[in-house]
């Protein structure tokens, strides 16, 4: 019998938390997706959509033009 492997670091709960022991995290809305570590998003940000106007507008984004009434 090999001994248990002890850790000095916190392991990611998603790696050991069985699906059947998870509980809804927001009351009645148990259909939310699994947790993601914000550090993962910072480390590998999701790809940006193509730029339609350089430095101003990406595909899928909205652009609002505004001004005072005589201008518009």
């Amino acid at each position: 019998m090999s001994g248990p492997k002890l850790t000095t670091e916190w392991q990611d709960p998603l790696e050991f938390l069985a699906e059947d022991v998870r509980v809804p995290k927001h009351g009645v809305n148990g259909a939310l997706p699994a947790w993601k570590d914000a550090l993962d998003l910072v480390t590998e940000p999701p790809p940006l959509p193509p730029e339609l106007i350089t430095g101003i507008l990406h595909q899928g984004a909205k652009l609002v033009l505004g001004g005072s009434s005589p201008v518009c």
Partner: protein, 223 residues
């Protein structure tokens, strides 16, 4: 039905229920055959005499003379700097496993008290307590959890439970909560999730004189 502002859960809303006991998972872990003697033998620090070392453990667990809340019993306690308790811990039973933020706080009943969530500081240790089953069962479960989180100390209550102190300083609340839910699914008492909850002082003494023996101690995660 139209959306109602009052239906939005506030940050102080009660959390979702704790998970139910997963008997099959618990039994499969216990069936691996580890027990209290394994916990002791895997402890990086061990002692071979019978001297009480509560002061030494508290020096390791709470360096820097922080404010601590220590109780002889659940109704007889006080909060003061760690040095104020030196020489007294071997005969004390209870401690809040995180430093206190101030000497006094307000209880939920609006009373001034040295022991309240209001004057408990940020979480330093998450204590997991198993009290159902045998001491060997509890040790097996803590050894399992110790592969998921840094176990620093395992203390026998002198009664029927084994407390594991997991080093939690700086960890995200969501991660700690997930770990606690996992522990609860193995049969742990969720009561120690409350930061201000009293737990057994390592190598302290119960009110009836029984020793709260330490079976595992690993200061490495604290360094």
């Amino acid at each position: 039905m139209a959306w109602q502002p009052d239906s939005v859960p506030s940050p102080s809303s009660p959390r979702a229920a704790w998970p139910a006991l997963s008997t099959s998972l618990r039994e499969s872990i216990i069936a691996e055959g580890f027990g209290l003697v394994d916990l002791w033998e895997l402890s990086p620090v061990r002692w071979y005499d019978d001297r009480a070392r509560a002061d030494e453990f508290i020096d390791w667990l709470f360096p820097g003379n922080p404010l601590l809340c220590v109780g002889l019993s659940k109704s007889k306690f006080r909060t003061e700097r760690r040095e104020g308790f030196r020489g007294m811990l071997e005969t004390a039973a209870l401690i809040v496993p995180s430093p206190m933020s101030k000497h006094w706080g307000m209880t939920k009943d609006g009373k001034k008290s040295a022991h309240s969530l209001d004057n408990t500081g940020s979480r330093k240790y998450l204590v997991v307590e198993f009290d159902q089953g045998t001491a060997d069962d509890h040790a097996a479960l803590h050894l399992h959890l110790a592969s998921k989180a840094p176990l620093v100390c395992a203390v026998h209550s002198g009664g029927k439970s084994l407390h594991g102190w997991y080093y939690a300083e700086g960890q995200l609340d969501a991660r700690l909560r997930a770990f606690m839910e996992y522990a609860v699914s193995l049969g742990a008492d969720h009561a120690t999730w409350l930061r201000s909850r009293f737990v057994r002082i390592p190598d302290g003494q119960r009110e009836d004189g029984r020793r709260q023996t330490v079976f595992f101690f690993n200061p490495e995660p604290i360094r």
